[in-house]
């Protein structure tokens, strides 16, 4: 009976080792996709890219300046 049970179990263990070895080999290349890109900026700063449309970027910039106006009102 042992002779009947052992081969597939051993084979499964070997396969598990092979599959886990493949998983650790490749993600450093696959994982680069979709991660935030480090970008260089003119004052030595680094930015993180997110998926934004030009309209979203425009709106965000305008909202930010509106908040600046509100802060000036609170301050003075």
């Amino acid at each position: 009976m042992r002779a009947l049970i052992a081969p597939p179990v051993i084979a499964l263990i070997i396969l598990a080792i092979i599959v886990s070895g493949c998983a650790t080999q490749f993600p450093s290349q696959q994982g680069m996709e979709g991660q935030g890109r480090q970008q260089s900026q003119s004052d030595g700063s680094m930015g993180t890219e997110t998926a934004r449309s030009p309209d979203q970027v425009r709106e965000a910039g305008l909202q930010d300046l509106d908040i600046a106006m509100a802060e000036l009102d609170e301050l003075e």
Binding site: F26, Q29, E71
Partner: protein, 446 residues
């Protein structure tokens, strides 16, 4: 007969185990096939060289998933050359003037050599060099001697900074400030002579090769010495001698000013704000954090107006917020900046200040205002970085971004000089118009 436990059924267990084994084998096989088709880094297509491009400045660019330890190219004359350049993730960019020959080249690659064609060197900022030998005032005229190698004088911009900081400009065939009377460039042996028949007093001269702003710092600056003593005391340059002193109009010896080359002052040394901005936008990553390249315009302006201590404090503030660029654009980034500035709710902090004894109230309010204004100005800085982000995505041209950044920097300087809330609000309104104007230029390439 004794009762026996139900016997273990090996056939069922074995079937299950074999089924698992076959399923696992099939999974590994399908993953291997997926990678072989190019889904990961082990495939042939991902290892190949992509998009090799060579231009007439002798620069070579190509992409490859795995960086080569050495980039070696076989040139048309049969010589192999190891290129100087850098890798930026999977893209290699060489220095200029690395591949100067025209014709077929081969990039050595373990995956297979890649053929490409270069047009040959026409002009490279890396090879160009500029040196000002002297600049002298004689009565109202100005005479400067300079050398220029591997460059053409038609691309030179001459800038003269007056004592009141106003800058006069001259570029042959392009533009000339009205205060400069009859500026011209003539060849004199191996040098050039720049003369102006009438120029204002108290000048510093800068000569720069305009196509090279941000590339190899091809410019130089010198203070123009007054020298009414005559040709026997011509000093360095025009007489070919290198003397340490000349004579001032009253006859006393004075040190002949020496040039300051662009390589020493880098982006920060350009006279014009626009050139400084354009230079910084052109920098490679490893150059950006260099002190001379990092000095923010707002802090530079404070050196003259508020003194070195205020300027140093300003620089400290800019450095403190650099870590905030790691936060995504939006509320998270502003929250980071507010934390760095130690600014909580403005209303709450103001209330706390007003609850203090009169003797302490003033400095508390003043401290709060300083923190709040720095966060407000950061929002303008943030828009500059957003503009640069869009340039890197290809949505905006460099010139659009230069123009916008110059406007934001001027707004920050004016903000610092503003005396009232109304003035500051006007500047924020202007920033909104400038931002909308910039966004109208955005083109998303498909």
């Amino acid at each position: 007969m004794k009762h026996q436990k139900a016997p273990f059924q090996p056939s069922l267990f074995l079937s299950f185990t074999w089924a698992l084994f076959l399923l696992a084998a099939a999974s590994v096989a399908s993953v291997s096939i997926a990678f072989a088709k190019g889904g990961g880094g082990g495939s042939g297509s991902a290892m190949a060289v992509a998009s090799p491009q060579c231009d007439d400045s002798g620069m070579f660019v190509f992409s490859k998933a795995t960086a080569l330890r050495k980039v070696i190219v076989l040139q048309p004359d049969g010589a192999e050359r190891e290129l100087v350049g850098e890798w930026d993730s999977s893209t290699f960019t060489s220095e200029e003037a690395e591949l100067n020959q025209s014709g077929k080249h081969f990039l050595r690659d373990p995956s297979g050599d890649q053929e490409f064609t270069c047009p040959g060197l026409v002009f490279s900022c890396r090879l160009a060099s500029l040196s000002i030998k002297s600049c002298r005032r004689k009565a109202k005229s100005l005479i400067a001697e300079f050398s220029l190698e591997h460059g053409s004088p038609e691309y030179l911009l001459f800038q003269l900074r007056k004592q009141d900081k106003k800058i006069l400009k001259f570029q042959q065939g392009v533009s000339s400030s009205k205060e400069l009377i009859n500026p011209k460039i003539t060849k004199s042996g191996d040098s050039y002579i720049f003369t102006v028949d009438e120029a204002p007093e108290g000048l510093a001269l800068q000569i720069s090769l305009q196509p090279c702003v941000g590339r190899y710092y091809v410019y130089s600056t010198i203070v123009c010495a007054a020298d009414d003593a005559g040709p026997e005391n011509a000093g360095s340059g025009l007489s070919g001698k290198s003397e340490e002193t000349s004579r001032s109009p009253n006859g006393t010896p004075q040190e002949i000013p020496k040039e300051t080359p662009g390589s020493k002052e880098k982006c920060g040394g350009y006279m014009g704000l626009e050139d400084r901005v354009r230079c910084r936008l052109s920098l490679r990553e490893e150059q950006e954090d260099e002190y001379e390249n990092f000095y923010p315009e707002e802090c530079k302006a404070m050196q003259g107006s508020s003194g070195p201590a205020a300027s140093a404090d300003c620089l400290k503030g800019y450095r403190a917020v650099q870590q905030c660029w790691k936060s995504p654009a939006g509320p998270a980034r502003i929250a980071c900046v507010r934390k760095q500035a130690a600014l909580g709710s403005i209303k709450e902090e103001k209330r706390k200040c007003q609850a203090l004894p009169p003797a302490e109230r003033g400095s508390c309010i003043s401290g709060l205002e300083k923190k709040a204004h720095s966060v407000i100005k950061f929002r303008l800085y943030n828009l500059e970085e957003e503009a640069e982000w869009m340039m890197e995505k290809g949505w905006l041209s460099k010139e659009d971004v230069v123009s916008f950044v110059v406007k934001m920097e001027q707004s920050k300087l004016e903000y610092n000089l503003a005396k009232s809330k109304a003035e500051r609000k006007k500047l924020i309104e202007k920033a909104k118009r400038d931002w909308n104007g910039l966004m109208d230029e955005v083109e998303v390439k498909q």
